[in-house]
Symmetry: C2
Subunit: 221 residues, 2 copies
DNA sequence: ACGGTACTCGACACCCTGTCGAGTTGGTCG
DNA sequence: CGACCAACTCGACAGGGTGTCGAGTACCGT
């Protein structure tokens, strides 16, 4: 018996209980969604499409998910978890080397989201409308920001980084930059960076922001 | 069979011709949209709401705009123009002082978009679905990026800024950062910066990125 | 064999969009 | 003045999507 779902506070999204055959259906819906998202935009996919693809009727779909959005949210949950794990592994690997840690973390996140462009795009399209997606995303960004801020403070404490605006503020700016640039690149929004330049460019901004001073004063007018 | 549409390249979108009374209606629709966006999300506003608000029937609405999105696009057009103008003025005011120019430009853009939060949010919610909104936004960002890149190259040429990644790549990253952080702040998305800190923090990242070196080498691994 | 729970779906009520065609109005011209 | 035409208006319709309800069916443990 798969336990009654160890859903953390914030409540279960999805269906009520677990049953053998039902699990397959749920997976089929998820798989169909992933597959269709590879072809068209979320807005062009109806609940009926999802249901048909999973071999069930539309009303039955609602037994498994409360809405189309909930399916994307479930998918996003998985990808976010993957990103988190892969990023954490990179940080662990880098040990005390903060710069290497940032490089590895950025690489991990970039790879995860580029590998799931379709989902990334769909999730982005839900941000304006879905509180749940927004909450999940906020939570992820919040974690990244907190970790970044802590690292910056560490570098400042050991004298490696100069003082400046609150570490958290810099962390907020840098992490949103990463998010947006990766997103633009993943979806082909112009202007964007070439995929191969992402890491180098973003990392340069991070390092200069954290370690660089403000340079020489402006030239007299 | 779409009508010939005498639309000059990139020109006015909206209805076909000009007539006295019709202009009032068009304005009424725009005004209603702006007003309603102050209360609820775009997705919760129907064409009927817009029509009623403007004192016309739903079919009549379609005489003036091809869709709800087109109304937002028209509104966005105005705000973007305002941002452009105000930004250009700031740059002009700063003359040769590149740093002052960036500060003024950022301030102008920030003020414009914070002053139109509702519209900003609505436009953002259309980005995933509307090609037109995407195109308009891309065009704006492209202009900002091009100008930024040119300025960076100028600073490098006169020896004020150190070399590094292509100026354009840095410009892309920095401008998307501004966009995203301003947006997060305007919509209350967490994590975000306090409105009063926006300018200082973003400008610090810009200056350090453009003028700062990469700091001392990493601690030996 | 029986009762319950998981699951299924046809049918329905709604809401929204976009269009069509039959008007109405107001300015212009013979 | 009247007749015309373009601008404008809207009732009615068709179509497509969502979410729900209630009447089933399948399978479990007892």
């Amino acid at each position: 018996m798969a336990a009654p779902l160890p859903v953390p506070p914030g409540g279960s999204r999805g269906r009520r209980a677990r049953r053998p055959s039902g699990d397959d259906r749920e997976r089929a819906i998820l798989a169909t969604a992933e597959e269709l998202l590879g072809r068209r935009a979320l807005a062009d996919i109806s609940v009926d499409d999802l249901a048909r693809g999973a071999g069930i009727s539309r009303p039955t779909f609602y037994f498994y998910f409360p809405s189309k959005d909930a399916v994307v949210l479930a998918l996003l949950d998985r990808v976010v978890e993957e990103a988190r794990a892969s990023r954490a592994a990179a940080l662990r690997r880098a040990g005390d080397d903060v710069r290497a840690g940032w490089r590895g973390a950025l690489e991990a996140v970039r790879d995860t989201f580029l590998a799931h462009r379709a989902l990334t795009t769909a999730a982005a399209s839900l941000l304006p409308t879905s509180v749940e997606v927004r909450a999940l995303w906020s939570q992820v960004m919040e974690q990244f920001v907190a970790e970044t801020a802590a690292a910056i403070e560490g570098e400042r404490a050991r004298g490696a980084a100069p003082p400046g605006p609150p570490a958290r503020d810099l962390a907020v700016a840098l992490n949103w930059m990463d998010e947006r640039v990766i997103h633009a690149t993943a979806t082909g929004t112009t202007p964007a960076l070439a995929e191969d330049d992402l890491l180098d460019v973003l990392l340069t901004v991070w390092l200069r922001t954290v370690y660089g001073g403000d340079g020489p004063a402006a030239a007299p007018g």
